[in-house]
């Protein structure tokens, strides 16, 4: 529990730094980077004390088992927040948003470390509920705000019900199919996958700083949550859950892939991200290392490219961002989708065909995005610092695509 206390302490320090920094971007960046440095120290602490993750879900409060991939996901989220701040300047996240983001990483860590479904449910409820309160304060009762409010309650309720009916030391029990449905429902609500696609599609209306909550925190947390649930439940429960997640994920990817390709330029990135959210859901549902690696690579590509693409402002650096996530070799988006096709091939030829189709749709949507970025009216619209950050991120995406094994091992501690 010592590391958990340290994590809470670090988050409070970061909160103080960011809040005291006021609107000075330099101090905010310094605060986020300081948190990152301290978090890196914390991660090394994890490595020293790391134990294998608990194999099964347990009753009651359970125990906390930090893993290397969890530390990588959370530290990566915080690092990308710093990048977002550096890229966006005054239009980036407000100090209040940054403070909330850093505080919520602690809640996400609790959700991803625990082996108790009850603690998991409470953490997910707190995480999504806090994001809802933030969005409600920022934007009033718009559609995405109402959607996430409903879905946070439903996700929490599904996890709580699963905790109640999981056969354990108690005498209670339920058919494995029911438990699988409940767990799949919770995962789809957190990831914004069918049937819970309300808020991901419309979240762009809330502004780029609010999109960061989804792109950098909810999506990675949901993906890792899915991976943990797939491995920590019995095969009788995991099997129907995986099939549901693959089906719903691919349906979501097809839906948003078509909308990303055929829709207007405005909000195209949000639709592309929603499409990849479906692919990530399906990739982890395959239950193979390739599927998990593909999901991680796609996540990291959106971490890197999203800072440039999240805003609808037309600017030249967006071209670089679109290339990174488009699926053009040898960038990370291509490697991620290639691994996804490999994972799907072991599942079913039809499924791998759907994944290929969605990859084509994403490529088309990215090409449309690139074309709009090359429009003559965008020339000279970007600052030099933005161009430098965009090129750095493109280089990182390239490294991710060329050496995916080393990159995922360095960041997350596993080899595809």
């Amino acid at each position: 529990m010592i590391w958990a206390l340290e994590a809470v302490g670090l988050a409070l320090v970061a909160l103080a730094v960011v809040i005291l920094g006021g609107r000075s971007r330099l101090i905010q960046i310094a605060g986020a980077l300081a948190f990152l440095a301290l978090g890196a120290a914390l991660a090394s602490h994890f490595l020293l004390l790391e134990r294998p993750a608990q194999a099964r879900l347990v009753e009651g409060f359970g125990a906390l088992s930090p893993t290397r991939i969890m530390a990588g996901i959370l530290l990566g989220s915080i690092a990308m927040l710093a990048l977002d701040i550096a890229f966006s300047g005054a239009s980036g996240p407000s100090p209040a948003a940054e403070a909330l983001f850093l505080a919520l990483t602690v809640v996400a860590a609790a959700a991803l470390c625990t082996n108790s479904l009850a603690v998991l449910a409470i953490s997910v409820g707190l995480l999504m509920g806090a994001v809802w309160v933030r969005w409600q304060r920022v934007a009033g009762p718009q559609l995405p705000v109402r959607s996430i409010a409903r879905q946070s309650v439903l996700a929490t309720g599904c996890l709580l019900a699963a905790a109640a009916v999981t056969p354990s030391v108690r005498v209670g029990g339920a058919p494995p199919l029911l438990e699988g449905i409940l767990l799949a429902g919770a995962v789809t609500a957190v990831l914004g996958v069918f049937p819970f696609t309300g808020w991901p599609g419309a979240i762009g209306r809330l502004g780029r700083s609010e999109l960061a909550f989804w792109r950098l925190l909810l999506l990675p947390t949901g993906a890792l949550l899915e991976a943990r649930l797939v491995t920590m439940t019995t095969s009788a429960v995991a099997s129907p859950m995986r099939e549901m997640l693959i089906g719903l994920g691919l349906a979501t990817a097809l839906f948003w892939g078509l909308r990303g390709l055929l829709g207007p330029d405005q909000g195209r990135y949000q639709r592309t991200l929603a499409c990849d959210s479906g692919l990530i859901c399906a990739g982890i549902g395959f239950g193979t290392v390739e599927g998990l690696a593909a999901a991680v690579l796609l996540l990291v590509c959106h971490w890197l490219g999203g800072a440039v693409l999240a805003s609808d402002e037309a600017s030249r650096p967006r071209l670089v961002g679109w290339i990174g996530i488009s699926g053009v070799p040898p960038f990370g988006g291509f490697t991620g989708r290639l691994l996804l096709v490999l994972a799907a091939t072991s599942f079913s030829p039809v499924v791998s065909g759907i994944v290929l189709l969605v990859s084509g749709l994403q490529l088309g949507a990215s090409a449309a995005g690139m074309r709009s970025s090359l429009s003559p009216r965008t020339r000279g619209a970007s600052r030099r610092s933005q161009t430098v950050v965009a090129m750095t991120m493109a280089a990182a995406t390239l490294v991710l695509g060329v050496v995916p094994v080393a990159a995922t091992h360095f960041m997350m501690g596993f080899r595809p």
């Binding site: 009651g60 009850a118 449910a121 409470i122 009762p141 309650v153 309720g157 209670g172 339920a174």
Partner: protein, 201 residues
């Protein structure tokens, strides 16, 4: 006989939560659900289990009523900011909609409760009461027209879950069940007097 009566009381408590509207309705609902499901879990958990659920419902009821008398204690506005209300006409009034969904939920709970094993309780009545409370939570969330409805839904979901856990386990689970119920009661108290997102029938 006692088991059937207590299960029926749990069902009535959930039915009150299904049909109630407004802050006073929320206060009455929290009390009814707490006492009703508290009675159900007392079948296996005795007085401590009853105290956890009944106490959570009773305290939430008292705090919601108390905040109505102290305007400065109303927390929803500083928590959520201003929430402009949207008028929206519907085919059914919200209560009619909930009633229709509740009838479907009743049948579903009747069917599902036969497939759940809830500890040493021999009949499916108590499991039916828990399931119906959970379904009322889902209905309140799905038909919710504002934050207070969602908070009530979350409270019902947590109470249904807590009662099923307590029904099928020993007293070792009282700790985390109490935490879960208390955490569900907090948003109910905070959001009970929040402005709705939409009005109209």
């Amino acid at each position: 006989m006692t088991t059937g009566l207590l299960a029926a009381a749990g069902f009535v408590g959930s039915a009150v939560a299904l049909l109630s509207v407004g802050p006073r309705g929320l206060a009455a609902s929290s009390l009814a659900v707490g006492l009703g499901l508290g009675g159900v879990v007392s079948l296996t958990g005795g007085f401590p289990a009853f105290a956890v659920l009944g106490g959570a419902g009773g305290i939430a009821c008292l705090v919601i009523l108390a905040t109505g008398r102290i305007p400065s204690a109303a927390s929803a506005r500083w928590l959520l900011g201003n929430t402009p209300v949207v008028g929206r006409e519907r085919v059914f009034d919200v209560r009619s909609l909930r009633l229709l969904a509740g009838v479907g939920g009743l049948l579903a709970a009747r069917l599902l409760s036969g497939h759940l094993t809830a500890g040493t309780v021999s009949t499916q009545g108590p499991a039916f009461a828990c399931l119906f409370a959970w379904e009322v939570g889902i209905i309140r969330v799905a038909t919710g027209r504002g934050p207070s409805d969602l908070a009530m839904g979350a409270f019902c979901l947590a109470m249904g879950t807590a009662s099923f856990v307590l029904l099928s386990s020993d007293r070792g689970t009282l700790g985390w069940v109490s935490l879960m119920v208390a955490l569900a009661a907090v948003p109910l108290v905070l959001l009970a007097r929040s402005a709705p997102w939409e009005t109209g029938s």
